[in-house]
Symmetry: C2
């Protein structure tokens, strides 16, 4: 497929919202309504999906994983652009159809992009959004003594294929941003064992994980090291929050979503990543989660 | 190099401007000053640069090519994020140093990004900006009868290595946006023979190229088909503008930049791409410029 043909197809598929200029110029344009947040996120064949994955699911994952970063700020989506490097054997139009459908599900218009050819299908989504509540929720607002909690069970997303259908937690994040007791927020992409220390470090705190309390997703096989799977598998795209410990019972009672909030640890005054072992002893975190070598 | 190590180095290298949240959270944040434009642009090893290219130049090209899209809207840069897929043998820190230096040269902060590993070094830059004049200049404002002009000589950029050092034409674009007679603008990345028909189509016009008048860059060897090189080589990153023919002499006189504006064609009422051959006959455009197969 020639580049112009793909772009023609996309222009026919999408419609520019009122006041926005989308696909087809050197840039897209829009008029922001206030403070804006933006994230860029890449998925690569062989790392984030396999060569046999249905193309529509690849596009869906690329869009949803990027949108999850907007949810993690308690933002609502405003726009997206997509840079796609197409490899032989991939149906670029089907990838883009899955991607656009997922964006549309969250009210996010596709406003532009870039197409190139290469050896591996690679998609870099850039998404931006505006505040859905009075503030963005960043990683850096945590205070020592805060509890760490997650919005759903973790682990097993790769083996089960759940990682191809991440669910950006917009509703939950918008509700959390309205609670003054919630101090910090992020989404879990590299596993709790790696991401919780990141939130803690951004808040100038250390963290203590309580692995026995981490909710294990049904996708994790019973025979495996279920605690390790829940802490390290990654690609869960649940939210991790830091919340004032005194407000925790009230927050649990008022939480309006079907999946329970689960306490998984706390922030410490001393830097570093620790966890409670089976005997209740605090030890240095034994796992590092998933880290890309670059 | 581990991902966290690269990111730590970048955080130490860059400084967030007042009021902006940069590298290290789920999103960057800023408060826009008004209408905003955004572009995403990918460079891939083996297509946009070779494996032996100095890494700092690869970063420089990635940044400059993306910024050129902001210039093409007559915008000034506000921020940038970079998604880099690092392949074995590349010094990612050196790539990023070249990239950040080029952004800084144009007053553009690097505010975030994503790192992955892959088989080929691939960089997707997303840049955004605001109006430097009273309007953005798009591709779609051209009117039939308008002259097409370029801001500098074309051709030979790949063979000479000039394509690694594109110069975003911010000053020229900002000046042009202040001239009501200038109706449309774009930057030339795929060659005049492909890009001029794009501007014309976006303006619901056809175009007539005058190949004999296209200024040929000194990088084009004398022995080659110089006209074809100037029209088709691509990666020039000069600006192409559509201007009211009646205002053209005055515009030339007042043009304050050292390189002369050069007339290269005109917009036609009938759709299609045409050019004047050596005998002054109008014929269908014989070249298609550079088109990626995807």
């Amino acid at each position: 497929m020639r580049e112009n043909e793909l772009i023609r197809g996309l222009r026919a598929r999408v419609h520019d919202p009122e006041g926005m200029l989308g696909i087809g110029d050197d840039c897209c344009t829009w008029t922001p309504g206030g403070p804006t947040c933006l994230s860029t996120d890449t998925v690569v064949e062989g790392r984030h999906f396999l060569s046999g994955t249905p193309p529509g699911l690849v596009g869906r994952k690329a869009a949803a994983a990027a949108l999850s970063d907007l949810a993690a700020m308690a933002a609502r989506p405003v726009g997206a652009v997509c840079a796609i490097t197409v490899a032989a054997g991939w149906d670029a139009a089907a990838v883009m159809e899955g991607l656009i459908t997922e964006l549309e599900r969250h009210g996010c218009p596709l406003l532009g992009g870039d197409t190139t050819a290469g050896d591996r299908l690679t998609i870099t989504m850039t998404v931006w959004g505006e505040r859905a509540a009075a503030r963005f929720l960043t990683r850096s607002g945590g205070q020592f003594g805060d509890l760490l909690a997650v919005t759903g069970p973790l682990g097993g997303s790769l083996a089960s294929g759940r990682h191809l259908r991440p669910e950006p937690r917009f509703d939950m994040a918008h509700w959390l941003a309205d609670q003054p007791a919630v101090h910090a927020l992020m989404d879990l992409s590299d596993g709790l064992a790696m991401d919780a220390p990141r939130l803690a470090a951004a808040s100038s705190c250390g963290c203590l994980l309580l692995p026995a309390e981490v909710p294990v997703h049904p996708d994790v096989p019973d025979m495996s090291d279920t605690v390790r799977a829940a802490c390290c598998d990654g690609e869960d795209f649940e939210l991790l929050l830091a919340v004032d410990a005194a407000a925790w019972p009230d927050l649990q009672v008022r939480w309006p979503f079907p999946t329970a909030l689960a306490r998984v640890g706390m922030l410490l005054p001393q830097l570093g990543a620790f966890c409670e072992d089976r005997h209740g002893q605090v030890v240095p975190m034994p796992w590092t989660g998933y880290e890309h070598r670059v």
